[in-house]
């Protein structure tokens, strides 16, 4: 069973546009909501993360929006650049002592000039 679902599966955005990736989860015990970025041939790397006590977090061009009641969170990439082309994963986790990440299905983002 898939506890964490991402959409879309793939996304093509023009340079300078806004990329939006969504993540829906079922486990209400999740209390840490990160997004990971993975380039081809590399391991995933933490991009940005949010905790459930806030609804939005912004770091540079990257913003997470969190909707606890809907059990969804999303990644917004403003002014998307070709260097942002990668696969993005949401990977929520539960509390201390069980810090495994439950990865979403992944979104392949391509930024075209």
């Amino acid at each position: 069973q898939q506890q964490v679902k991402q959409s879309p599966q793939s996304l093509i955005v023009q340079k300078g546009g806004i990329s939006i990736i969504n993540c829906a989860y079922e486990n209400t015990a999740f209390d840490y909501f990160p997004w990971y970025q993975q380039f081809p041939g590399k391991g995933p790397a933490l991009l940005i993360a949010i905790r459930p006590d806030v609804s939005e977090k912004k770091e540079g061009r990257f913003t997470i929006s969190f909707n606890k009641s809907a059990k969804q969170f999303s990644l917004h990439i403003m002014d998307s650049q070709p260097g942002d082309s990668a696969t993005y994963f949401c990977a929520p986790s539960t509390g201390f002592g069980n810090e495994k990440l439950t990865f979403g299905t992944g979104t392949r983002l391509t930024i075209i000039p």
């Binding site: 990160p34 041939g41 590399k42 995933p44 201390f96 810090e99 990440l101």
Partner: protein
């Protein structure tokens, strides 16, 4: 000065063979993980060790046996390799209680023929 390193980077072997993948981290973290990424890019945790103690053991065939000689190393031994074991295996490490420190290695690409 690589933070999380894995050897080998590539591994091509025949069905039925036994192979090992090694992981080392120099971040001073006390928790290490093995994740498997399949051909569809789906990432799933396999094992986690905290200070050489097994704390997460997902539903993984007995042919997979992790070993942690010390908290900086986590190796993965696979017996009787099967075609379905072909995947990319990622090692990761973190400091328990600080989920934002989970760093991934570059991955080991295993191909079973």
């Amino acid at each position: 000065d690589t933070a999380v390193s894995q050897t080998p980077k590539y591994l091509v072997t025949q069905m039925g063979n036994d192979k090992s993948i090694k992981c080392e981290q120099n971040l001073g973290h006390d928790t290490m993980y093995w994740y498997k990424q399949d051909s569809k890019k789906f990432l799933k945790i396999m094992f986690s060790y905290n200070n050489k103690e097994l704390i997460i053991n997902e539903t993984v065939p007995n042919r997979f046996s992790p070993k942690s000689p010390d908290k900086a190393h986590l190796n993965l031994h696979i017996n009787s390799l099967e075609l379905g074991d072909s995947a990319v295996y990622f090692c990761a490490s973190s400091q328990r209680g600080n989920r934002e420190t989970q760093y991934f290695g570059p991955g080991t690409r295993l191909l079973v023929l």
